[in-house]
């Protein structure tokens, strides 16, 4: 939490005012028993009705002031918490947007999402509680002690007894329950895991008739979880009754001791009654504070998770002294002795890769999984930076360009078609807001997407759900391709973008693409050899090294790895 403390800076005054108001609220709350004591001692004892009513109205006034203080604090707390979290959310989002893939790998995408959403919501809720309760409790508690002492010093040991008992009780319960809390969280995750596995493997489970086995597996976790939950619940079941008991017994104690004092003329009856209420307030304050011990660690976890992200600097930044691009790229992409290892990985994924991709040509990359095909292509938009060597576009190292300029010239189509919620139109226009209808239409046509788009009742204005879940994998890929076409970049990067397409569509798309990409430089990562057979330059990767460069014909003759891939997919005559 300390790591996020600077976010409270704009609210320093607000917090200060809130604390002052909390003092006011506590003073009012604590003044009430005094008035009551006055009513009993002065009013009732002497039968002075006027005094009673007068004091009563004073009480009302005090209570009203207390209420106003409390409401104002509530207002401040809500504004501060929501405002602080608004800023936190903006900073976090902005930070994550600046991250490169290395940072995404480090945190994992889903974790980054939870940090930006749930963790911040968590902080917001707890912040309000913090201001309204945690700040208030010590003020009330200390105030209560002062008032009680002013009332009767001789009974202060009772407060001590109460606090010792409560601390002991809460401590004991926490010691018993806290370790189990963690265990329960683990078991809940485990339970989810088994259910998720069961859902994913539905077909397999049924095909292998292993329903019983799965049910047992689930039952084990379920039993475990139930047992631990039961333990915690039973422990907690004792908490409330024990606290109530302590409170009640302390009251009896006050009365007992108090009545002795009253008889010895050391104490007025009204004071004793007030004393009882102070003790209650002190105990309440203590209970509120003990809530702090539950809340703060929880907020701490969220705060740390957020701070971890905020304190991470993106590893890839736009070059500061970059030359602003003045003329359009030609698109000559050169890899010069490029070696790349993922952060914290021991072995490089790519070793000493050198080649030149010329404009107007297709450079295809093929190889086994883990051979580094996608990685190679991902280096061009600087999702990652090379570990050694350099990548040059038109002779300029891409690290010396402005990130924005570099990416402006790239048309990237990811492996899994990624779409944003909106319409087909908004997704295509994502590449270029100013693109005309005709341009979008043309892009869709090239990407072989026009047919299915027009088959939809709303055509280009058909809804796309979040994550593109309402279109098929193949359609997503085609729309992603169309989006890249709209951009009309100088360099195209197709990262295995045809995998979900059937042979026929794949072929038609490549034909259309060839005509359109004309003078552009095209990178094409593929699994299917038929997809890349006609490329001007094919790079065969094997375990991160170039096993061969050439055309299909050349490679069939010279490259063993290429031949193996080929023969595994097509027959010899088809390959010829």
């Amino acid at each position: 939490m300390i790591r996020l403390i600077r976010y409270t800076d704009p609210y320093r005054w607000g917090i200060l005012i809130a604390i002052v108001l909390l003092f006011g609220q506590a003073t009012c709350d604590l003044a009430l028993p005094d008035f009551m004591s006055d009513i009993v001692n002065e009013g009732i004892a002497s039968g002075n009705t006027g005094y009673i009513i007068q004091t009563g109205f004073k009480m009302l006034g005090v209570s009203l002031i207390g209420g106003v203080c409390s409401i104002t604090v509530g207002f401040l707390a809500a504004r501060i918490a929501a405002g602080l979290c608004q800023q936190l959310r903006i900073d976090l989002f902005e930070k994550v947007e600046s991250f490169s893939n290395s940072e995404f790998d480090k945190f994992s995408t889903s974790s980054l999402i939870t940090r930006t959403t749930n963790d911040i919501t968590q902080i917001q809720t707890l912040l309000v509680m913090l201001i309204r309760i945690v700040f208030y409790a010590p003020i009330l508690g200390i105030g209560g002690v002062i008032h009680a002492l002013a009332n009767s010093k001789s009974m202060s040991w009772i407060i001590g007894v109460a606090l010792v008992l409560l601390v002991g009780l809460v401590g004991l319960m926490m010691m018993a329950a806290l370790p189990k809390f963690k265990l329960i969280q683990v078991l809940v995750d485990k339970l989810n895991q088994v259910v998720r596995e069961n859902l994913d493997g539905m077909l397999v489970i049924r095909a292998f008739n292993t329903q019983r086995f799965e049910e047992n597996r689930f039952d084990q976790v379920n039993t475990d979880l139930t047992r631990n939950n039961l333990f915690v619940n039973r422990t907690m079941a004792g908490m409330m009754p024990a606290m109530m008991l302590i409170m009640n017994l302390i009251t009896v104690l006050v009365i007992w001791v108090g009545s002795n004092q009253v008889s010895a003329f050391k104490l007025d009856v009204g004071d004793m009654m007030a004393y009882m209420q102070y003790v209650m307030q002190i105990i309440m304050a203590f209970l509120m504070m003990s809530m702090m011990f539950i809340m703060i660690p929880r907020a701490q976890v969220s705060a740390n998770r957020i701070a971890d992200v905020l304190e991470t600097e993106p590893s890839i930044l736009s070059s500061k002294n970059a030359v602003v691009q003045t003329q359009p790229y030609r698109g000559v992409v050169e890899f010069r002795h490029v070696t790349f290892a993922y952060p914290e990985a021991e072995d490089p994924v790519l070793h000493d890769i050198s080649f030149i991709a010329e404009p107007g040509q297709t450079t295809a990359i093929i190889g086994s999984t883990g051979s580094g095909k996608s990685t190679l292509v991902n280096l061009i938009p600087r999702f990652y930076d090379v570990t050694a060597g350099q990548i040059l576009i038109d002779g300029v190292d891409i690290r010396d360009m402005k990130l924005e300029d570099l990416r402006k010239n790239l048309g990237y189509v990811p492996q899994k078609g990624i779409l944003f919620s909106g319409t087909i139109h908004s997704n295509l226009a994502y590449a270029d807001k100013n693109a005309s209808e005709a341009e979008l239409l043309k892009a869709a046509e090239i990407a072989q997407a026009l047919e299915f788009i027009e088959a939809k009742p709303e055509g280009f204005h058909s809804e796309i759900a979040q994550g593109g879940s309402n279109v098929s994998g193949g359609q997503k890929q085609r729309l992603s391709i169309a989006r890249a076409m709209v951009k009309k970049p100088q360099i195209y990067l197709f990262d295995d973008s045809f995998s979900a397409l059937d042979f026929k569509t794949d072929a038609a798309l490549r034909n259309a693409l060839k005509k359109e990409t004309g003078s552009s430089t095209v990178f094409l990562v593929a699994q299917r050899i038929s997809t890349i057979m006609t490329a001007e330059q094919i790079i065969v990767l094997d375990a991160g090294r170039i096993a061969g460069i050439g055309t299909h014909q050349e490679l069939m003759e010279t490259c063993q790895v290429y031949r193996e891939i080929g023969l595994s997919q097509l027959s010899a005559e088809e390959l010829a």
Partner: protein, 614 residues
Amino acid sequence: MSEKKNGRPMGGPMGGMGGGGEKAKDFKTTMMALLSYMGEYRARVVLVMVLAACSSAFSIVGPKLLGKITTKLFEGLMAWYTGTGLLTDFAYIRKISIILVFLYVISAMFAYLQSYIMSEVSMKITYRFRKDISEKMNRLPLKYYDAHTHGAILSRITNDVDTVNQTLNQSLTQIITSIATVTGVMIMMLSISWAMTIVALLIIPLSLIFIMLVVKKSQGYFKTQQKYIGEINSHIEENYSGHNVVQVFNGEAEAMVTFRTLNHELYDSAWKSQFLSGLMMPIITFVGNLGYVAVCILGGYLAVKKVIEVGDIQAFIQYVRSFIQPITQLANISNVLQSTAAAAERVFEFLDEEEEGSDEGKQGEPESVTGHVEFKQVHFGYKKDKNVINDFSASIRPGQKVAIVGPTGAGKTTIVKLLMRFYELDSGEILIDDRDISRMTRSGLRSMFGMVLQDTWLYNGTIRENIRYGSFDKSDQQVLEASKAAHCDEFIRALPHGYDMVINEEVTNISQGQKQLITIARTFLADPKILILDEATSSVDTRTEQLIQKAMEKLLEGRTSFVIAHRLSTIKDADLILVMREGDIVEQGNHSDLLARNGFYAELYQSQFSEGEE
């Protein structure tokens, strides 16, 4: 205080109070269902209610007795002042104090007993709910899963069951305690003074009016807040998961603009709903204080008039204080019950879903299977009004290979799913060794099949356990042989811990190709008569790919097989090719027949190489 954290985002500080929450479609029926689901525990729940009521009753007497002591003291003092009596009646005070301690201890014991029993009951019921759901999952037809997301099912087993659990564990007894307290307190107050009771009772409508006003107002903001949280979350989700695309299209600035707008809307509704729901406490406290003051004034007046005694004022004040909390709780109860009913309803709905037809009285696994498969005029559609398979007939002799080809999304797995009775036919029949599969038990039928899918499925266990999956009685030696036959042995031995290596939760500690090989080994071990193979071509390296191909070929030997084919080599030497298009089988025959027919298959086949000729 013991609120469990199950990844569920916390509501506002007042929990469901301002949230409004969802409503069950049929509250009464669901609650009755929940009651009958409790079964044997019902008696214990009744006991818990009695205990809760007793516990409250015992503690309610407390203030009145305390008041008596105070009165005695005060009277003694007054008497002493006027010189008419004893200073302090210690014997009386001692007696009352002992009674008090006794009452409080009993009350605490009852309260503890009540929570103890209730936590057991609620956990047992939760356990049963989860168990029932997990077993139900296996009995539902696959059709169900086509229409429902995994997330929805997961949230039933966690969130919904949890909501019910919380209500059983806390809210249920809270209702009883609150009602008992309110009633008890009312009786005690009346026993002291009807006039003061009326004044104190005025608090109730007053606080209720305020609560209603605040709730009504804040609910609107809560809804807006929920809406913007949803929107901002999906915005975050899609920008993070599409991060690379955002980067290459330089979309960061635009994303930020949208984010800022949403974020500001969220801020606006967040602080308002927060503030409004936070008003509740101070307002109730203030109204409570109003009552407090009124009680003091009226009590003081009445005490002077000797209508009541000093201790009564003290007792009354305590009663007024303990009056307010249960009332706010009761005000919130309908929300709690509603959201519980909604959660329980979802769980019951799931448990009541129509199951796969019963297997009772059907034949089990036949002694020997030759693998003769026959389709007779099969009709099938995933949805009632839309048939995909129309009048399909084919006969496959033992040991033959059937290749299923077609564009993506053409429904190539449909036939396979029908064959294994994951779905039921609309009409026609499928025979294996001349026996209608719908007359066999599902487990009997499925034990004849082996299946290797493109989506390999391994679970979070050791490699050995994963290979043995489904053939639990096979020895380690047999596992080893199957693994050798599937060309797994070599790479498994190279892994840390070899066969005992635990596959991690995300199944990322072995490669895609290795996963595939393990599922092949699994099928070898099962030694089925009929095989279903999905040839995967993507994401596997060359050498592993060759191993997989070799292993698959070996697996195919002597078995009738259905192959969802991607390789032309497989397709060419298939005995029967089923060509699928838009769900239906449009052509069937062998490679040369189909080419000669010059139809969809020929088109599909040729298109692949059209570009090569340019």
